[in-house]
């Protein structure tokens, strides 16, 4: 593991065991599954790049299409949404190939496989669909049992704090309304992923199955028909995509190394409030060059965690920063202990 000189010198920060092993493994399994499901899904969509509401796909009734026109050899791609057309030549609808332009809704670089293969894409999609579902079940059951999910379950109390949290992000408010490990907006995002997006994406996918249409006649009907289920499935895929963009943006801006470490090893470095930081860390920063110092000062600014809670958790799950540099074997033993603690606690 990489040792950050600034962090190592900073004796006041502490490592918290934040993500249990099941969470870490399922997180990365989920990331892989979602990427493959999205890209193979786009390939499947390419076989019929139109969306409809209702049971059937009457050609003139598509509300969304990705298509191409050819006027005297001028091939242009466009997206049509309720009759409004946007030219997307170069990205959607048409793609330049070795033999000139050809109609293709989503471009090769976004699909699995890159070449046109509906059969191949379906095989990828169903395999990783199972993985996504089973992985999600494992995560939910384990974390319900150990009580982890309670920490980010969005409640009415959290709903009331959403405006304050938004204001805090927009720098219109100096204190965060956060209590506990997750802030109200995080809780809202994660809860809606688990309670709305995931069940709906699975059900709308299954609603397209003829066999399940036999087993459960009501399944396509709850979406308004099979083609509606297909449209919902497509739209939800982009819901997952935007969540992923937001999630990755937060990781990029809130500390890549620390967040990646906590999602691979479980350990997250908690920095105390700036007041404490300023007095304790100043001498330790001497050997570091000015540029780093400045960046680090940015890094440790406002602290979201309520100080009282930091202290409480320091007793139970925190360990001193110096202990970070220990052997792998040692660390995994400790990790197991933490995992046990985690379970016992809940």
């Amino acid at each position: 593991m990489r040792e950050d000189p600034v962090e190592a010198a900073d004796k006041s920060s502490e490592l918290l065991y934040r993500h249990n092993r099941v969470t870490r493994v399922t997180h990365w399994g989920n990331a892989l599954a979602l990427m493959i499901l999205f890209m193979s899904g786009l390939q499947i969509f390419n076989a019929h790049p139109h969306l409809y509401w209702g049971s059937t796909s009457e050609p003139e009734k598509a509300f969304f299409s990705i298509a191409a026109t050819n006027e005297d050899g001028d091939v242009r791609g466009y997206v049509d949404l309720y009759g409004r057309q946007i030219d997307t030549t170069g990205f959607l609808g048409v793609q330049q190939g070795t033999f000139g332009p050809s109609a293709r809704a989503f471009p090769s670089w976004l699909t699995i496989p890159t070449y046109y293969s509906l059969a191949g894409a379906r095989r990828w999609h169903f395999f990783f669909g199972w993985l996504f579902a089973l992985n999600g079940l494992l995560y939910v059951f384990y974390n319900l049992v150990v009580g982890h999910m309670r920490k980010f379950f969005f409640t009415f109390g959290d709903a009331k704090k959403v405006p304050a949290m938004v204001a805090y992000y927009l720098h219109l408010r100096t204190t965060s309304p956060q209590e506990g490990e997750y802030n109200p907006l995080q809780k809202m995002a994660y809860t809606s992923i688990f309670m709305i997006l995931t069940p709906l994406v699975l059900l709308s996918g299954m609603a397209m199955s003829p066999q399940l249409n036999v087993a459960f006649n009501w399944l396509p009907a709850v979406f308004g028909g099979r083609q509606s289920a297909r449209a919902v499935h497509f739209i939800l895929a982009f819901g997952f995509l935007s969540f992923t963009f937001g999630h990755v943006f937060m990781v990029l801006t809130q500390g890549v190394f620390n967040n990646m470490r906590s999602m691979t090893t479980g350990w997250y470095r908690e920095t105390p409030p700036p007041a404490i930081q300023a007095t304790q860390s100043a001498p330790a920063l001497e050997p570091v060059d000015a540029e780093d110092l400045k960046a680090d000062a940015d890094n440790v600014q406002p602290e979201v965690q309520a100080p009282s809670q930091t202290t409480v958790r320091a007793d139970t799950t925190a360990k001193p920063a110096q202990a970070e540099n220990k052997s792998v074997a040692n660390s995994s033993v400790q990790e197991e202990e933490r995992e046990k603690n985690d379970e016992v606690k809940s």
């Binding site: 049971s55 509906l118 059969a119 169903f126 395999f127 937060m250 801006t253 908690e270 680090d296």
Partner: protein, 261 residues
Amino acid sequence: MTKLSPSFSRRNLLLGTLQGAGFFLLSGCDKIFDALSRNDKFQSLLELAEHGNRRAQRLLTGRNQLAQEFSAKDISPKFRSNGNPPPITMDYEADAKNQWTNWRLEISGLVQQPARFSLAELKSMPSRTQITRHDCVEGWSVIGKWKGVRLEEMMNKVQPAADAKYVVFRCLDTDSDGNHYYESIDLIDAVHPQTILAYELNDQPLPVDNGAPLRLRVETQLGYKHAKYIRALEFVASLDKIGQGKGGYWEDQGYEWYAGI
């Protein structure tokens, strides 16, 4: 799950951007996915999902449960057709002109009483009419009204042997290389109440585009299983020796044999 603080550190942003860029550069991912798509061993791993789909979906489906049936007002204005163009042989065109009087459905293979049936004979048998939705593997759906004889009815006449496991549908249409279309289903789907050999679409004799004179409706599965232009039925114990051994024209080209999803 990230711990949020509104500070956007330059160092972290830079690191993150570099990592992101690295990820996309490393994502010769595209190449990896393509290579895996062409790797037989990896493909058999992915095919586990097909078996999972079949087992799980069959488990959830009662044997006599029916696919959703619609009302006359739901019928699509045009029943879209797909696949090979209609057969263009002299025999086919002559048969069509003669209202299929010379056409026969041949039933053979592992059956106790092989038989041949004319279209008139099929039409004189008890029929089933159903307004169902046809779902193409490409994603589109159309609703049509079908009339035909239940496959189970035909099985009662020819008496499949105990070791018969599949029905193979031999078709008159060919692709541009001259390969005949064929399909197969197992006996679970064969005896499903809505599995019929259809000779009418929307109260008219089955049009040439939709598989005249006889086509399969197997409402538990996607469109490519619904063989058109049927010439013969063959009851078999294994699909290995037929076509390229995958159980159907599209299956030989990589599509799943079980097309319930």
